[in-house]
Symmetry: C3
Subunit: 139 residues, 3 copies
């Protein structure tokens, strides 16, 4: 069995951002030499997500609005977590909607994605350095 | 390490539908010859889900109502994504709630599921051909 | 390829509870002897979650309030599922928000977690014995 581990760093200029990381994951798959297996991609911070959906700017704005409806950033005092001095409780909630991780099949040396599947990093509390992890196992 | 890959096609008559695919996944596990490992099942389209929950008709209707509350189909103009000519922005949202994929343990040659766990395909924008992927790795 | 399977039992005193299981998963990893691979941790019951987030009591109370807003327990008659004689339909909904499972990378013989990542069992219909599954594969 082969395995390959890689970490990607992000520091987004705004509080929330959505970054297509599909090509970066594909590059790691090439390095891994795995042709049949599984590829895990996960946020390593608990106010961010890795998810798969469409790279369409209108949809991304729709997601952002919807997450803000489901778990508003303000008032900060809405959340007990913010009593710790943080202001990012909403980000911990938004990340649960969008998920921590994706597991993608590797088939014939490629990410076995559907026609519109794109892997995204969803940042909900940016403006600092944060990591994702890519782990590929197989043969 | 063994690996097995299979694709299942669906074309549901209505916009939304919930299909128990547990037996179909079990069939692929038998074909794989894997006795210890992991089984990934994921939607390959971004307006559909694979999830695990109860095969109880009342609950499925509850889910459908709840998803429609959280991300209503209409008005179509509610979503920027629909400005592209699509009318399925709600389906992209519903799928994030229910998730893209499940990973199931394989133990002793069987899907290692709890007593009520059933694997479902959740379709939120049907009436066309769409695929799921089954990837099994192990020994 | 090595594989290791373990089941943990829980019976929480209240209806809803949130239990940090990171150490228990780490113990199973040591037993597995796996140094590079993947670790699946999933609820085996469909009214419970395994998720990764912060071990901070304010945030956990925030989650509990938020889940109750998104899928209230009462009135029981709100849900068709409860016509079966159950009163736990809300728990089936809360679990979909928080998720069934996590997949964690194993690197250098350790769970490859970010600085604040903690693995939690989220119970939404407690007061009875329920299981989670840990499956570790790799080398």
């Amino acid at each position: 069995m082969k395995s390959h581990t890689s970490y990607l760093w992000f520091s987004t200029p705004g509080r929330r951002d959505y970054i297509n990381i599909t090509s970066a994951v594909e590059e790691e798959l090439v390095k891994s030499g795995v042709s049949e297996g599984l590829c895990l991609v996960n946020a390593m911070h608990i106010t961010a997500s890795v998810y798969i959906n469409d790279d369409e700017s209108g949809l991304i704005q729709d997601y952002d609005d919807w997450l803000e409806q489901l778990a508003p950033h303000e008032p900060i005092s809405r959340y007990r977590h913010n009593l710790t001095g943080e202001d990012n409780a909403d980000a911990h909630h938004k990340r649960q909607i969008m998920g921590r991780e994706v597991v993608v099949a590797v088939t014939g040396g490629r990410l076995d994605l559907g026609p519109w599947e794109q892997i995204f990093y969803g940042e909900f509390d940016g403006r600092r350095k944060k990591r994702i992890l890519i782990k590929i196992i197989g043969e």
